[in-house]
């Protein structure tokens, strides 16, 4: 297993995958406080008397919530695009043929990817949110506790792990990185809108993001258990699908 983990870490480092994930989350973490800080100055000169304070929450909490919104809208898109080739590309390029012949297990391949990139997408959003918290605190004032921020960051990271499990499963089904990303995003946004429309976020992974955005230091237990079950099911199905693939292409 350590052998497979080392290979995935090398992949992440040498293909700049970790760097891209880091850049995506930290870009939003640094940009949202700056934007909220300079926005009133910009608008004041352009539209004197514009009631911005009433429309936008110009506090540390407002920064954090704005960051969370950006992550849901754009972060998930960028994460999907950055990680869509993790398995799909390997299947398409037949790079798994020699490892399989050498004895790599199907479940080991999936587990290594889940562990390495799961850890990355769990910890990087958390670190970015804490950075956002500190930066927003410096620019505005520290009006929010750190514990809700850590809980929110972990919930957001957990949601990204769910996204990763979808990418792996759809990768085995489509064998095409772009199709994998599109399918994952369709499911991701589709479930979010369905959750809003039917008011069932508490039963969906999107409930994690909703709760994270509230920054109230509470864990949506139902959504967390369901998300965990989906992650395990996706990893299992990805492993099973990998096992049934025909490596007949040259």
């Amino acid at each position: 297993m350590i052998n497979s983990l080392r290979k995935e870490i090398r992949y992440g480092l040498r293909n700049n995958t970790f760097l891209i994930l880091f850049a995506v989350f930290f870009f939003f973490a640094f940009m949202t406080p700056v934007m909220l800080k300079i926005l009133p100055e910009v608008l004041k000169s352009k539209f004197p008397g514009f009631p911005l304070q009433e429309l936008v929450n110009m506090t540390q909490l407002g920064c954090l919530q704005s960051y969370m919104g950006d992550v849901l809208e754009i972060g998930t898109l960028l994460v999907s695009l950055a990680l869509c080739g993790l398995l799909a590309q390997e299947i398409r390029d037949n790079t798994l043929v020699l490892p399989l012949c050498a004895g790599q297990s199907y479940s080991g391949i999936i587990a290594a990817k889940m562990l390495v990139f799961g850890t990355a997408v769990l910890l990087i959003p958390l670190a970015a949110l804490v950075t956002d918290y500190l930066y927003a605190g410096l620019l505005f004032s520290f009006d929010t506790g750190i514990l809700p921020v850590i809980t929110g960051g972990l919930l957001q990271g957990f949601y990204m792990v769910y996204l990763l499990s979808l990418l792996l499963l759809f990768g085995t089904l489509t064998k095409n990185p772009i199709a994998t990303a599109l399918l994952t995003l369709a499911v991701n946004y589709g479930l979010y809108f369905a959750g809003s429309l039917l008011d069932i976020h508490r039963y969906l992974p999107s409930g994690l993001l909703r709760e994270a955005q509230q920054l109230q230091n509470t864990i949506p237990l139902q959504a967390a258990v369901i998300t965990l079950a989906i992650i395990i099911a996706c990893a299992f199905l990805a492993s099973r699908t990998l096992q049934t693939l025909e490596w007949s292409k040259k």
């Binding site: 052998n3 497979s4 080392r6 290979k7 090398r10 992949y11 040498r14 293909n15 390029d93 037949n94 790079t95 043929v97 020699l98 490892p99 399989l100 012949c101 050498a102 004895g103 790599q104 297990s105 199907y106 096992q243 025909e246 490596w247 007949s248 040259k250």
Partner: protein, 307 residues
């Protein structure tokens, strides 16, 4: 080491393999030849446990490939036609990753020894992405040998290489046989097969056309050809007359060197009589030694006529 019976593989309505039979004995080099698209790679993938047959039985190292859950259960070394590696790993890291798979451990010394053996000792720390096709092929051979398997399956190991690279790979294959390995390899370069193989199997359009030890195959009754060298140049009128002799099926060549193809029971005295009658002095006259290419082309022609 390999016993294949009535192996059939269908891809939707297309039948890639139509009930092939073959047998590879321990310690031999088996050359599996056929045109592009004849079914060589499909057979190789099935033998390597990477694809499942539609019908038939296939025993590799005593294991039924239809009953395995993982390709590594077959304990073979497999080299695909165009081995794909992770371009961001070095040659050493690639073998380390493959060698330490499936709960096995391979020492660094063994990896270095293998890389040295395939002629990649200078590229140990270089990333595979910058390797030439020949270097990847050598690394593929090293990868196939990493767990020291008894049976090696190589799909077109030398076909895409330059003459020097091909020569190196064929020499490696011969060395492997001397080390006691059994090698099953496919190719469409018949001279390569003729150079190293003990047994040859010919696959044409998904069917086994022939399977024999190479010396036996070269003795096969194919239509006789005679190579004749004349002392003085002749004109084309003589060539036409020559081709009209009963039993002569084709005459090719130039004004000094002729190649005469005849029927199976041709009486060669007719040729000598022709030369005497036409006052033609002959420098040399020899029946052409069968080559694998002749046997193969005859099988292809027979198949074409049948279909």
């Amino acid at each position: 080491m390999i016993t294949v019976k009535n192996l059939t593989k269908n891809f939707n309505s297309f039948s890639a393999l139509k009930g092939i039979n073959l047998r590879v004995k321990k310690g031999e080099i088996y050359g599996f030849i056929g045109q592009n698209g004849a079914g060589k790679t499909t057979t190789m993938n099935i033998l390597a446990g990477l694809s499942r047959p539609t019908k038939g039985s296939c025993l590799v190292n005593g294991k039924d490939v239809t009953k395995i859950k993982h390709p590594s259960e077959l304990h073979i070394g497999y080299l695909p036609e165009a081995p794909r590696f992770y371009p961001w790993l070095t040659a050493f890291e690639t073998l380390e990753y493959l060698g330490n798979s499936g709960g096995r451990r391979v020492a660094a010394a063994r990896i270095k020894e293998l890389l040295d053996w395939v002629g990649l000792s200078e590229a140990v720390r270089r990333r595979v992405g910058g390797f030439s096709r020949g270097m990847k092929q050598r690394l593929g051979i090293a990868a196939a040998l990493i767990h020291d398997p008894e049976l090696l399956i190589f799909d077109e190991p030398a076909s895409a290489l330059d003459p020097e690279g091909r020569n190196d790979v064929l020499n490696l294959i011969k060395k492997l046989k001397n080390m006691g390995k059994t090698i099953f390899f496919s190719s469409h370069i018949l001279s390569d097969v003729e150079r190293v193989c003990d047994t040859v199997g010919i696959i044409i359009a998904g069917k086994m056309a022939a399977e024999k030890p190479l010396p036996e195959m070269l003795k096969e009754d194919i239509l006789p050809s005679y190579d004749i060298t004349l002392q003085k140049p002749i004109d084309s009128g003589i060539l036409d007359k020559l081709s009209q002799i009963q039993g002569v099926s084709k005459v090719t060549g130039n004004e000094l060197n002729l190649s005469v193809m005849t029927d199976a029971f041709f009486d060669t005295s007719l040729l000598f009589k022709f030369f005497v009658d036409n006052k033609l002095a002959v420098n040399s006259f020899a029946r052409r030694q069968n080559r694998l290419e002749d046997v193969y082309l005859q099988e292809v022609n027979t198949n074409d006529k049948q279909s």
